[in-house]
């Protein structure tokens, strides 16, 4: 489903020189898997996630989504791929503050060129699935943080992407709310949704089907990478 081959990513350091965020990572994620990517701060977790989603052009290496070489696509084609094949969930939710929940969730289908009525219907269906129908006309500021993240997940799911990429989706939540959000992700995964989740919380990571550990931009193979789901 997703193949990452010998991926490297180097950033220019502010004081000169370079920082190697990813150092030759090779990884395969199959359809229907729930993978947690863990590692200390600065280990390259988020960079790997963004690279898998077509957002961070690697310095070298390849990312395959299905049979598509993501970074062989032109910028516009990669944007189209993100609209339909990938869903992003962020730690800080990144909801548009002046849009309602329904409008936030409807953004991706609207950007994909679907008719407004069609996009709104799809957004309604996703919000219902996430138990957020009663809140659909509220703005983000009127929601609890857990509800905001549900809306964020709804926005990621609305175009039925092949893979859901979640960057610290529980990082801003209290433990109880984090568990609720994780339950949502596990339910989605049980329904066949492929999920890659970056987290620094090992307790949550252990609930994923597989754990991938990163250290200094490389896979940390010193520990077992698969646990019981």
């Amino acid at each position: 489903m997703i193949r990452v081959e010998n991926l490297t990513k180097t950033f220019a350091a502010p004081g000169g020189g370079e920082v190697q965020a990813l150092a030759g990572i090779t990884l395969r994620i199959d359809r229907g898997e729930f993978v947690a990517v863990v590692g200390p701060s600065g280990s390259g977790k988020s960079t790997l996630l963004f690279a898998m989603g077509g957002l961070a052009t690697p310095t070298s290496g390849q990312v395959f989504l299905g049979e598509t070489r993501v970074y062989d696509l032109e910028r516009e084609a990669r944007a189209a791929l993100r609209r339909t094949e990938v869903g992003f969930v962020f730690q800080t939710f990144n909801l548009v503050p002046y849009l309602t929940c329904l409008e936030n969730v409807a953004l991706p289908p609207l950007l994909a060129g679907r008719a407004r009525a069609d996009a709104m219907a799809a957004a309604e269906a996703v919000l219902e699935r996430l138990g957020m129908t009663a809140r659909r006309h509220h703005r983000p500021a009127q929601l609890s943080v857990g509800e905001r993240q549900r809306v964020g997940i709804g926005r990621a799911l609305v175009n039925a992407p092949r893979v859901l990429l979640a960057d610290e989706p529980t990082g801003n939540l209290d433990p109880a709310t984090a568990d609720q959000v994780l339950d949502v992700l596990r339910d989605l995964n049980r329904g066949g949704q492929t999920i890659v989740m970056v987290t620094h919380d090992l307790r949550l990571a252990e609930q994923a089907g597989r754990i991938v550990r990163l250290r200094s931009g490389a896979l940390d193979l010193a520990v077992p990478s698969r646990v019981t789901a």
Binding site: S46, T47, F50, G53, L55, A56, R75, E76, A79, A80, L81, R82, R83, T84, F88, F90, T92, N94, V96, P97, Y98, L99, E103, A106, L107, P108, L110, L111, A112, R155, D167
Partner: protein
């Protein structure tokens, strides 16, 4: 995309209103300046049309602006002047000489009174009664019609005709024989102007004017060509400065809208990063920003055109003494140019904002 546009507009309407107001102020100034400038140009053409190719000989002290505004002073030329010219060497170039005496008198019900125009033409003899031709306003002010009579400064006057289109458009004038006008105005032996007509194809008009002035000390020969040259020069200067003014206005609009767009782009960085992450085309986002700025500009342009109406009216009344309004034809250019300048000004910050790496923006948030 329009959902984002409308949503942002509703949320930051004060900012949008400020941008549109700034554009409106600049556009209203430009539209007013253009209207006044166009009016000055039209008045030159109108004057040229009315005066034809005649030469006007007036006392050197005559205030021409007041003269054309039908306010006549006491300056005078001797009424022996036509004879002097006819017997001089310049007579070969002069086909016709018409002497006139002008004066304002308070008469009848008209607030500004009427204008007496004495002309040394072949008037019909009516015995003790003075023949006259009246403009329609003068007839109304004096309460007379064709065939009617009235008294003016002790002079019995009979109305030969009420002219719908009086000479030189002098609607408030009472045209009468020169000698009668001298009596009515109590200015015996005086003239206000001489109008010389002729074919001046083979002589330089300015040279002829110089010859006339030498012939009649204390007189000034005003040629239409010379007046036009001077007035066209003024209009051209105004238009040259109007170009600079328009350019300055455009730069001001560009700076205001560009600064607002840049400020918006900085504040909406996270939103833009998110939109790119969920698949918005950066080009479409830049187009959205640009369209928002163009909408600012267009609304400001339309408001500016509307604001220019009272401004032009006020300025024209105080500067030109005439009612004036901006041409409706200026609305489309005002709106279009304001929208275009705003769009161009917003394009660079929009393109820069949407070209940022969304991963950096989203991480910073």
């Amino acid at each position: 995309m329009w959902m984002l546009f409308i949503g942002d507009l509703r949320r930051r309407w004060v900012e949008y209103a400020f941008g549109a107001l700034a554009v409106a102020l600049v556009v209203s100034a430009l539209v007013t300046q253009r209207a006044v400038s166009a009016s000055a140009e039209e008045s030159v053409h109108d004057l040229a049309h009315r005066l034809g190719r005649n030469m006007l000989v007036v006392p050197a002290a005559t205030d021409l602006a007041a003269f054309y505004d039908q306010r006549y002073g006491p300056e005078a030329l001797p009424d022996t002047l036509p004879g002097i010219i006819r017997s001089s060497h310049v007579a070969q170039h002069v086909r016709s000489i018409e002497a006139r005496l002008y004066g304002n008198v308070r008469a009848g019900s008209e607030d500004g009174g009427v204008v007496i125009v004495g002309q040394d033409l072949a008037w019909p003899a009516l015995g003790d009664v003075t023949p006259a031709v009246l403009g329609t306003q003068a007839a109304r002010a004096l309460g007379v019609g064709p065939g009617g009579t009235f008294r003016l400064a002790g002079e019995a006057v009979s109305v030969l005709q009420v002219a719908e289109a009086p000479p030189d458009g002098l609607d408030t004038a009472v045209f009468m024989p020169l000698s009668a006008a001298q009596r009515v105005l109590r200015r015996p032996g005086e003239l206000s102007v001489l109008r010389l007509g002729g074919c001046w194809c083979r002589i330089d008009v300015a040279t002829l004017a110089g010859e006339v002035e030498k012939l009649v000390p204390g007189a000034r020969a005003v040629t239409v060509a010379g007046m036009l040259k001077a007035q066209k020069g003024s209009v051209e200067t105004m238009q040259r400065y109007s170009g600079i003014l328009q350019l300055t206005g455009g730069v001001v609009i560009a700076l205001v809208i560009g600064a607002l767009a840049a400020s918006q782009a900085r504040r909406r960085m996270r939103e833009l990063g998110l939109l790119v992450a969920v698949g918005a085309r950066p080009g479409a986002l830049a187009a959205l920003f640009t369209a928002q700025a163009a909408a600012w500009g267009a609304i400001g342009g339309a408001a500016g055109w509307l604001a220019a109406m009272p401004l032009t009216k006020h300025l024209a009344a105080s500067l030109l003494g005439a009612p004036l309004a901006p041409s409706p034809g200026l609305l489309v250019p005002a709106v279009g140019l304001a929208a275009l300048v705003s769009a161009v000004a917003a394009f660079i910050p929009a393109a820069r904002a949407t070209a940022l790496d969304p991963t950096v923006v989203l991480r910073e948030s």
